[in-house]
Amino acid sequence: MNKNEQQQKMRETAARLLDAGEAAYVIGFGETRFPEKTSILFAHNAEEADRFVWNDACVQSLAKYLLEDRFADYRVGIFARGCESRAINRMIKDNQFKRDHVHILGIPCEGVNAKRCASCAVHNPVVYDELLWDAVPEPNPETARFARAEAVEAMGPEERYAYWSDVYSRCIRCYACRQACPVCSCRECYVDMDRQGFQGKRHSVSDNQTFGVTRAFHVADRCIECGECERVCPMGLPILGQTQKIIKDITQLSGDYQAGMNAEDGNFLGAFDLDDKDDFM
């Protein structure tokens, strides 16, 4: 099936779902004035569903839009690739909504025109109500899943500090990374708390850096490696490296670790092993 045929299948399936009343609306991609950009489209009926598009410009992750109506008593439909499906599992695990709140239309995906797809390890949705077309081959596990982190690790300490200082000197603290992140589901983000709390409010490299490290640590073992943080960053900062580093370390300690592969497994930091290494101490 090529992308055009897939797009047709998506439109038909969404229309069927909406006609049957199984979802109040379906979340997918729509056209914009620019051929290289797509928007998020919330289709409420078959007619609107006919405007869904599916092409290499579908770079956004749809999953976070599910939080908008998480308290609704109606169901919401959503197209989900590997990345979106892991995000959905993550949100279910984090008790943001129940599994039956969403109708997941699985769409296997071999990548779109987004930087994050290069390190994608999961092409096929890991949870879905129906799969719209056949699963695609998963990438070779040797793909550069941690490439970003490894590049920084290879630097010397001075270089690393300079690298991140440079990155965070450009951070404008718009918190788009937080906004887009499917695991950032706090009711009130610590950075927004009016009293000083953990996060200094000054626009300084120091506060930017501590924000960067703290954000990574808040996401840490929950990160599904979708790279939305980096994609939405208006300054183009390579911040996925931070969470990649954490996941790489987790993987080194406890074997392969991929968050969001199901909605049941506990968090790495919510458990321990008596034999956990403490050679760092």
């Binding site: 308290f71 984090d94 008790n95 953990f198 919510g270």
Partner: protein, 661 residues
Amino acid sequence: MSKIGVFVCHCGTNISSVVDVYKVAEAAAQMPGVSYAAEYKYMCSEPGQQMILDAIKEHGLNRIVIAACSPRMHETTFRKMLKKSKINEYLLEIANIREQDAWVHPPGEEATEKAIDLVRMAVAKVAKNEPLKSSLIPITKKALVVGGGIAGIQAALDIADAGHEVVLLEREPSIGGRMVMLDKTFPTLDCSACISTPKMVDVSAHPNIKLLTYAEVAAVKGYIGNFTVTIRQKAKYVNQDICTGCGICEDKCPKKVTSEFNKGLSDRPAIYKLFPQAVPAKPVIDRETCLMLQNGKCGICAKVCPVEGCIDYEAKDVEYDEDFGAVILATGYKLVDWGGMYDEYGAGRYPDVIDGLTFERLVNASGPTEGHIQRPSDGKEPKTVVIVKCVGSRDPKKGKPYCSRACCMYAAKHAHQILDKIHGARVFIFYIDVRTPGKNYEEFYDQTRKDGAVYVRGRVSRIYSDGEGLVCQGEDTLLNKQVRVKADLVVLETAMEPNEGAGELTGLFGASRDVNGWIQEAHPKLRPVETQVGGVFLAGACQGPKDIPDTVAQASAAAAKVIGLLNQDEMETSPMIAAIDESKCSGCGACEPICPYRAITLETIRSREGRFTNAERVIAKVNAGLCQGCGACTVACRTGAIDLLGFRNAQILTEVDALWQ
């Protein structure tokens, strides 16, 4: 508006000889929020305390910092002092300028500077302290003892004797546990049944003890002082209220199954008492093997029963809730299934290779052979017996890494019994070490050797049949030689392991187990009979391999703990526990698995969320009765919705900040 008073103690000259206490007090007076600062020779003394109390009144102070010895020393003293004032006792911070300053640094500016820093940190923190109140939780004055072996029996009797109600719950049809299976007990060789059955009778006759046999714990809710336990009473099919225990049904029952109690050495009927002196002395029907219950054909017991309506094939399991203030887990041990571990010992192919408990039944005067040692294969009296110790114990590769503690002694006892009962018998004991730490234990072991038992140092590598009989092959590591012993009977002294189902039961109560599955004590030295869960105690071999004297001692210790708890009408809980800001909690549940006390639960609530007026959402809740105040949960909470009272994020951060103000 905080009006903080800072009081700097000289501690005689302990502090003042190193730290310039006057300078510390002067510096403190300038710190933000401080309205009064003073120094004094001994703050903890009565005049010192009075001075503080007077200053509180005179200067209208509302928070106190005391710069003195470690808070571990006098925090409680000063909290008590504050109870005499208008200030809540938690609006107090101690700056440790003795143990962590004056005593570890030479006199001079550095030590004084450090003291000022420590005071500044304490002042900053106390400004953020909140008044806290400890709450009182009521205590249900009834204890549950799970497990009716000697540990459970002893604990139940001790608690009942102290005047508290006890429910003793046992899953078998009779209490007694392992001890009643034994013949004689080391090192005194008194008959096990003779000393344990009177205690069983005491249990059944005690007005404060309710005995539940053939019953299990199905579910547990609540916390210290306030447990609600769902008890599942398995159907006995014999009306225990009217049964006379005459035993006719047992005689006439046509179905015979292998007796668990006699370790397979004899049969029992499907309607049965576990053993003749069982308590309660009334039979139950084993529904798994009863012909009537399995395929509806038989009914002989009902026909022969002289009491009308006593046998009731329609009986059902019943579940009900009962409230308790405290629980003792006394679930005991079982022997490992050595057959699965040691193929080289025949893995159960040879009937004359038996474990220690089977030997106990074989040598027991009330056992299937009436105490005549006859080997299972042909009933002949064995002349040469090999005893193998540490089968499954001290064997991290195939069995358990630990020592099962009682085997050295009962191996010696078995040897003694064989040599005593069988004229001309020879006994070889293969051992790794002989461990006899206990009163009169070494003497007993010594006597056994004098009786003629031959101790061979080494493990048995193989037990096989040479066509005529069993051969035990092993190395005598003292002679550095392979030895073979032809044996008529081999007794394997196998490792103890946690009883069947102990893990699930421990989990129901929220207690944890160690790597080997034994129930974990709260502290290996100082809290040996408590679990990590408040109000849940442990006794006996469920905590680790133990002999009878240790088990009984531990049971009495656990009982003392329970009595201490139940003697109170209500108990005070520390207010320095985790608290949740429900408006911030997103219900992600990251905190929940971290709590060692299962004090955090996730609950669904309804609230208004934007345009959704009746939204359902999950939040975390902290059970004040269970929380011990470690604060590990707070770190898992990204938004800070869960925080630790007394050590809030804001309080710790302000201490950090203060250092560089």
